[in-house]
Symmetry: none
Subunit: 249 residues, 2 copies
């Protein structure tokens, strides 16, 4: 069977088993949508539909509205080619364990073959053993020491975030690509700083205190942009100009 996958995130399914609080269902929809996921399934939710779910979903009303309710986990998993069970605590006996980052990468790879499920348990009791063994992999989200626990929707958020990162070949980031200063630009800056330091008396040639080297080190530590060199030199020029022609002269 051949699949043509345009966006592997479209094959990721989030399944909430027996959620108690409808607010968490809405917050889950929002967490999913923020990361580009859309397939939400609910297995015997305690109370749903509910106004709290709507109000927590905010802009993810479409994801929430499309959520399907199932009577059993097996039904929610039926057409999936892989299922990952989230668990807050280690189990004595479980499927193989991956952390959230490893699992996201593995799940995305599987998503080329068909729907892949991430399965989350009840807020208080988590997943039952049967639910866990309906999945092929157990997923652990690293947390701090002690009994600190993640809220259900926050656990979904972290997994959805890892899936999003795993799905982008190059992590999305906005960097400004401004033209970098050339060596000649930098030498012009160094010479300018040195000249005003001398003329202002800040640099005493008889006791130079490594000032030249310290300024060079400062401005060499990062790749200055040409525009930044011009900015600093513009300020120095203004300070010089006013010194040569003090106000009132």
């Amino acid at each position: 069977m051949a699949f043509i996958v345009t966006d592997p995130l479209a094959s990721i399914r989030v399944i909430l088993c027996r959620p108690s609080h409808p607010g968490n269902i809405g917050a889950t929809a929002r967490a999913m949508k923020a990361m580009g996921l859309s397939d939400l399934r609910l297995v015997t939710p305690q109370r749903y539909p509910a106004p709290e779910a709507q109000s927590m979903a905010t802009s993810a009303a479409d994801v929430l509205g499309a959520a399907r309710v199932h009577a059993t986990l097996a039904a929610a998993l039926e057409d999936c080619c892989a299922a990952y069970a989230l668990s807050a605590r280690p189990r004595d006996w479980s499927p193989p364990v991956l952390n959230a980052r490893e699992a996201a990468s593995a799940a995305l790879a599987r998503a080329a073959q068909g729907p892949v499920a991430l399965v989350f348990g009840n807020e208080t009791s988590g997943l039952t053993n049967d639910e866990i063994f309906a999945c092929q992999t157990l997923v652990h989200i690293p947390t701090g020491p002690g009994l600190a626990s993640l809220n259900l929707a926050q656990a979904v958020q972290i997994v959805a975030y890892e899936l999003r990162l795993a799905s982008s070949a190059t992590p999305a980031r906005t960097t400004e690509e401004n033209a970098l200063a050339t060596v000649a630009d930098l030498e012009g800056l160094h010479a300018h700083v040195e000249r005003v330091a001398l003329e202002s008396g800040f640099l005493d040639p008889a006791a130079p205190r490594k000032l030249r080297e310290r300024f060079r080190r400062l401005f060499s530590r990062l790749q200055l942009e040409r525009e930044e060199v011009n900015l600093v030199r513009g300020l120095l020029r203004a300070l010089e100009g006013r010194r040569r022609n003090p106000p009132g002269k």
Copy 2:
């Protein structure tokens, strides 16, 4: 200067600027505690203390109880050696941008020198430009396409999770380095540059050409040492002095 660092996560501070919903304050405390963070600051929260904050904090009542409230972001940042501003949308003009994973790693590295702040804005309006430029780095959490937005506490959760992972990747270490400039040192430098730029006529308040922001961005990229701040301010002072008392007068 020698530092002995036991747990760099203890140096991470989460600052919420002008949060509207007390529930998000509680959810933030819980998100932090789950990942081993504990230093929470609130800048002019709209309503706090509030029962919704308590109820959302659940097991993180200790983190919430220890949260300090400040009248200004500057006060919350005062003793920090670095500050990272979270922003959902790219800005035309901003400090250097990192994604959440890169920022977590960078922030942890800085945490060996002192408190490091992660600064989050209001739920609806985000951070103001002034708040962003009080920080040295802008942080972007990669999200899905469209207008989907992260809830405030979910954004905190992702950053806290990345910090936790980065802290297990970075062994606690003793560093021997020059003392880095604190936020207060940098603010002193920014104010000094702005003053001489104005006095020299380089900065025309009627046509500011984003000069303030450009200087802030430049000096934020450099990760200045305290001694370097003194070096630059020393030169500016010498240039000012000579301007006020030109040679031959």
